[in-house]
Subunit: 345 residues, 2 copies
DNA sequence: TTGTAAGCGTTATCAC
DNA sequence: GTGATAACGCTTACAA
């Protein structure tokens, strides 16, 4: 038992144990078996397993100018949307011998900037980012350094960067068309403040356009709420409730966080869904199947989006030089109990 | 504008730009300002910002034998329990200049082993692990290599390792005592298979002991279910339902995943909560406030657990050599609507 | 206060 | 086929 020295086993130790030079060991590690005799290969193999040798990624990276690290900055790690994407990304990532460095910006541009610096110090080979939208310049810097960047979900203006996400126009109009088809006469859209987040803009815009295409009277019912301030959400909700009394009405939420908060408030107000109003939301959190016997949702192929983002960045790392691409996935409508058909009177 | 060279800016480039030696720059980076004249310091400062220099962590690590990387292997990144811990851990981590490498084992020992290897190759300075329990030997290897390890939530036998988690005995008996006090006569405990997961054993054991201490008749009602197999969950649930007809009854679930599945099934069976039976669960997912107007839960201080685990490992990395510690946090009871008081007949 | 030089664990370029 | 040897970007004796 000499395992306690393990931490320090280097390529040189292996070479000595196997009675060869470190060059040969390096060749073995690189899989260049054709440059090795069977005998040496066996000897090295043996020494490596015996000594539990693991190549030092830092040394390797220093030499080869690759870290085998991919950074991913997500906006909200508590959101099921995020973790599903993470799973997709990580699966592909580790299959390809890379490791993911996951950072959570909490939608805070300052934190995002801090992670940028750290990741750059680690010389990540690529970055996937669900950006706050507040660090345009850093993104640009990354590009100038030739570090591949993939935007997840949220785009930024003026920069030519690969983007993977949802087709927000299709998704939103699908949702709105469905609600209109169910004969809801007033439809409100509740979203977090659009500010610098492109996704929110797109959904909002598509919401309004689609309603207008139906000559629908409620195309102005867009509410931006701050989910961290329940009072704010409450007052906006109350406004809509007061304003839409007596007609078939529905709320569409831009994500599951907003949906959750609204439901909380509706329960406080003793309002029933779908009797008092219909509810429908973006994303498809696991709990949407058990609340109100099932909430109608617009589901994103989250795992697939994570996979696609990672595949794309790996291609860029491998040197693929085509112009910036955008991959927009289609959403899936899950019709459940909170949006029943309304008989026209 | 010479930013496009940024990717390759090295300490040497900075030194040249500032007209000093790289040693001085290194001193500056290490914050050893007392060894520097004000003038040189200013020059270096200027050069660094001008060139947007970022020290190369790999080179630094290679030399100093530190990676500034902390690995964390979690069992299920989709679980809100996990992400809350992650947030706590990451906050402390980045405050201290470290970066987290988050790996998701999906409760799969094979995957866990793969991540072990990768993390070891990256020469992580420490490991926090929510272990599957299936890689005892690797944990041992880590210890022998003097890489600090902290067990999150789940312990392993025979190994002296720091552990941070919940006081499962206290938590479970608190839950059971509460239910008994509410006059439930049959109480079932639904958990995932205990197998190698210590937490599950502890909760199960505490469940049974606490019931026995009340001379309660239902101390045998422990069900182990495979949450990925709804049929399995369904048959166990049905067994309990059939077996407990006509008396006040309650189900306590060992985590929120099990809780979700059971609720799904109860709704399929058109059973009402709390009218047909009471429900209570470990963890406190955000949706527990909106289902059944609020589910009674046993809440863990997840964020705090993440913080504590990270603080502990940083202390170990800094060389603190005290014997292995165990930090067990108290759970908090959230009384809501699914466990009403039953009038004794 | 400053600089020179060696070395961390790899890979790659040469020779043999 | 194989093995010295020089980098990679940094830190740290040791000199000056």
């Amino acid at each position: 038992m000499v395992k306690q020295e393990n931490a320090k086993v280097t390529i040189y130790d292996v070479a000595r144990e196997a009675g060869v030079s470190k060059t040969s060991v390096s060749r073995y590690l690189g899989g260049r078996y054709d440059e090795l005799s069977d005998k040496t290969r066996k000897k090295i193999e043996l020494a490596i397993t015996k000594m539990e040798y693991r190549p030092n990624t830092m040394a390797r990276g220093l030499k080869s100018n690759k870290s085998y690290l991919i950074g991913i900055i997500v906006a909200d790690i508590n959101n099921p949307y995020t973790t599903a994407i993470l799973r997709g990304a990580e699966d592909i990532c580790s299959q390809n011998g890379y490791n993911l460095m996951i950072c959570n910006s909490d939608n805070n541009p300052e934190k995002e900037r801090g992670y940028f610096d750290m990741l750059l110090s680690h010389r990540i080979d690529g970055l996937i980012i669900h950006t706050t939208g507040g660090n345009h310049d850093m993104l640009k810097q990354m590009q100038e350094q030739k570090t591949p960047v993939i935007l997840l979900d949220r785009k930024v203006p003026d920069l030519e960067i690969d983007t993977v996400g949802l087709d927000n126009f299709q998704a939103t109009s699908q949702a709105v068309n469905y609600l209109v088809g169910q004969n809801y006469e007033r439809i409100a859209f509740f979203s977090e403040p659009a500010s610098k987040v492109s996704t929110r803009h797109e959904r909002r815009q598509s919401f309004q356009q689609t309603l207008m295409s139906h000559s629908h009277p409620s195309s102005g019912d867009v509410y931006e709420v701050n989910v961290d301030d329940l009072k704010d959400v409450e007052s906006k909700l109350q406004h809509f409730l007061d304003d839409s009394k007596g007609v078939p009405r529905a709320i569409l939420t831009a994500n599951s966080v907003v949906l959750l908060k609204l439901i909380l408030l509706l329960q406080e107000k003793k309002l029933s869904v779908p009797e008092d109003l219909a509810m429908m939301g973006f994303d498809n959190p696991d709990w949407s199947t058990i609340v109100y016997s099932g909430i109608t949702t617009i589901e994103q192929p989250t795992y697939q989006i994570g996979v696609a983002a990672m595949e794309m960045i790996l291609r860029r790392i491998d040197g693929q030089a085509s112009p910036a691409q955008t991959m927009a996935y289609q959403a899936k409508l899950n019709i459940r109990e909170t949006t029943p058909f309304i008989q026209k009177s």
